[in-house]
């Protein structure tokens, strides 16, 4: 089981003092937060990709490359990589490069993006969101698993005799998660490839995701990648903590009430009841997240959103101290209880290499002979 944080990289005014960080300040803060994640014992840092204000991370591999150099165990991921508007050839190259730079500490989460104009800005049609996600990933997958690719599709120029470089580290592609909040097509895609499925459940009630994840698990089994309980599931989460739970509520309320996504809408009390957001003592967070597997089954990755809505860096770093030192160690034990041995751990490069070697195949060499 892997625990980590993910950030959307929003530049938001702190509602308590009116301070708006500059882009430079926010970018540097994100880099500090990522390093802090490793320092407090978390496993994963995942960065969003956006191409519109007020978000800063338009170039995730630049930032993740820096974090790779500054860390040694932290797994670097995305939340999400826009498989719709990016050229899959460039994704193949950028993330294979990052994989080498980071010695394999890289995986990705594919997403479609949620800002309409980004599609036309990148020459795409939002009505083709799902077909773009499906076709682009089909190409990306081939670029990473086959040495020389001939390819023709609907959305980009054809390829003849193309080899994406560098080749994935050790001949094993970065692990891929497919993120979706409601589309069964994406759950089906994740299941087809035996990839991970990340349900970013932080804004919606669990009943919806129980069904969606259940669907993915069943289809994972259908496609022969293992049993439904062996499917690779990731979940989002959100918490704000203080020793005394009422202090957490009082401190977080102005950030909640003015947050870009849900601010000025439901009360914090309703929202914490209906979504995984937990505002209270570390023990309340432990109790809430230890119960997730009762709803979604034993899963592989839990990411928390900790640094949005204008929270100052100092507060975020304090929150990460609590998360890493008081919450996650207990959650690791709780999640390990009665976890069937057949349920896989969170995916790592080393595990994927071992799995490939155990299967006895060296795909790149075999394929080179065929070609």
């Amino acid at each position: 089981m892997q625990f980590g944080i993910f950030t959307v990289g929003d530049v938001t005014t702190d509602p308590t003092d009116g301070h708006t960080p500059s882009e430079n300040e926010r970018i540097k803060n994100i880099l500090t937060i990522a390093q802090k994640a490793e320092e407090v014992g978390l496993d994963v840092f995942a960065l969003g990709e956006h191409h519109n204000e007020p978000f800063v991370p338009s170039s995730p591999t630049t930032m993740l490359g820096y974090v790779a150099a500054k860390t040694s165990t932290l797994l670097l991921s995305t939340a999400t990589t826009l498989i719709t508007t990016n050229d899959p050839v460039k994704i193949a190259e950028d993330y294979a490069m990052l994989q080498h730079v980071a010695d394999g500490r890289v995986d990705l989460m594919m997403g479609r993006g949620n800002t309409g104009p980004v599609y036309p800005w990148f020459g795409k049609d939002i009505r083709e969101g799902i077909p773009l996600a499906i076709e682009n990933y089909a190409l990306l997958h081939r670029l990473w698993t086959e040495h020389t690719v001939d390819w023709q599709g609907k959305f980009r120029t054809p390829l003849q005799g193309f080899t994406s470089t560098p080749r994935p580290l050790d001949g094993v592609a970065p692990f891929v998660w497919h993120g979706s909040i409601r589309s069964p097509e994406i759950a089906e895609q994740a299941a087809f490839y035996g990839d991970g499925f990340f349900a970013n459940n932080i804004f919606w009630p669990k009943e919806h995701y129980m069904k969606l994840i259940g669907y993915y698990r069943n289809r994972f089994e259908h496609y022969g990648h293992g049993t439904a309980e062996q499917a690779i599931v990731g979940l989002g989460g959100q918490a704000f903590m203080a020793k005394n739970s009422q202090d957490a509520v009082n401190t977080f309320r102005p950030y909640f009430d003015n947050a870009p996504v849900y601010g000025h809408g439901p009360s914090m009390e309703d929202f914490t009841e209906q979504t995984p957001l937990t505002v209270g003592s570390p023990q309340q967070v432990i109790d809430r997240y230890a119960s997730m597997r009762e709803h979604f089954g034993d899963y592989q990755r839990q990411l928390f959103l900790m640094d949005h809505a204008g929270l100052p860096l100092k507060t975020v770093l304090e929150q990460l101290d609590i998360l890493g030192e008081e919450v996650v160690p207990v959650l690791r034990k709780e999640m390990a209880k009665d976890r069937p041995a057949s349920v896989p751990d969170g995916p790592t490069h080393a595990a994927l290499v071992a799995k490939r070697d155990a299967a006895g195949a060296v795909p790149e060499l075999l394929e080179a002979q065929v070609n």
Binding site: A138, G153, D270
Partner: protein, 218 residues
């Protein structure tokens, strides 16, 4: 015993509300006309779910902002979208349906009212706004691929004080007769509907969907 379910959405803001009064009159007439037998002569049971949108105003706004329905609102949406027929009544504000009514429609899945038999009704201070039913309400439901019955019922304040006899001498049909005609039209469709017994697969993939792409990508 078969069952038919009728959902009633009333968007009146005051309590008591003349919009609700009209909704209740329409509901009573539809239920009476459905009777206790279906078109094959089998006994039927009629269930009516009334959704007073005022009670969901906060939830509807929250849904607009967060993108998800509270469990309470989700229950109401489920009752509406899985009914065999819908009676939708709104006050007319500033030439159109009320904002609350439209907000509720906006949080529904746009596919969820496809084939739904709908009786539209509206209330207003003066009969001069009666055409709002036909230039605003009817296109709204047509866009959603619902089946709106031909007779829409508008009740102006004065209609509540007009006797049948008065209308017959004025050459206009009375509110009561308009209600009866509209109710008859909806009841006929509800009787033949199987919407409430349909099993909807929320994970049905589009026809022809392929997880590797459907455009010859290979």
């Amino acid at each position: 015993m078969t069952t038919r379910r009728v959902a009633v959405v009333s968007a009146g803001l005051s309590q008591p509300s003349s919009t609700r009064l009209l909704a209740d009159r329409l509901t009573e007439a539809v239920v009476r006309r459905l009777g206790d037998r279906d078109s094959a002569g089998e006994p039927i049971e009629i269930e009516v779910d009334v959704i007073e949108l005022r009670d969901y105003a906060q939830d509807v706004t929250n849904n607009l902002l967060t993108g998800f329905a509270s469990p309470r609102l989700e229950g109401a949406i489920e009752k509406v979208t899985t009914a065999d027929g819908l009676i939708a009544v709104t006050p007319i504000f500033t030439t159109s349906y009320s904002g609350l009514f439209k907000s509720f429609i906006d949080v529904l899945d746009p596919q969820s009212l496809t084939d739904m038999p709908v009786l539209i009704g509206a209330t207003g201070g003066t009969e001069r706004h009666s055409l709002a039913l036909d230039y605003a309400m009817r296109p709204l439901f047509s866009y959603l691929h619902a089946t709106v019955v031909p007779t829409a019922v508008y009740a102006a304040s004065s209609d509540w004080g007009t006797a049948d006899a008065d209308s017959s001498t004025s050459g206009q049909s009375s509110l009561a007769s308009r209600i009866e005609r509209a109710a008859g039209e909806l009841a006929a469709q509800v009787r033949d509907s199987d919407r409430s017994s349909r099993v909807v697969d929320p994970f049905a993939l589009p026809v022809g969907f392929s997880p590797v792409g459907g455009y010859g990508a290979q």
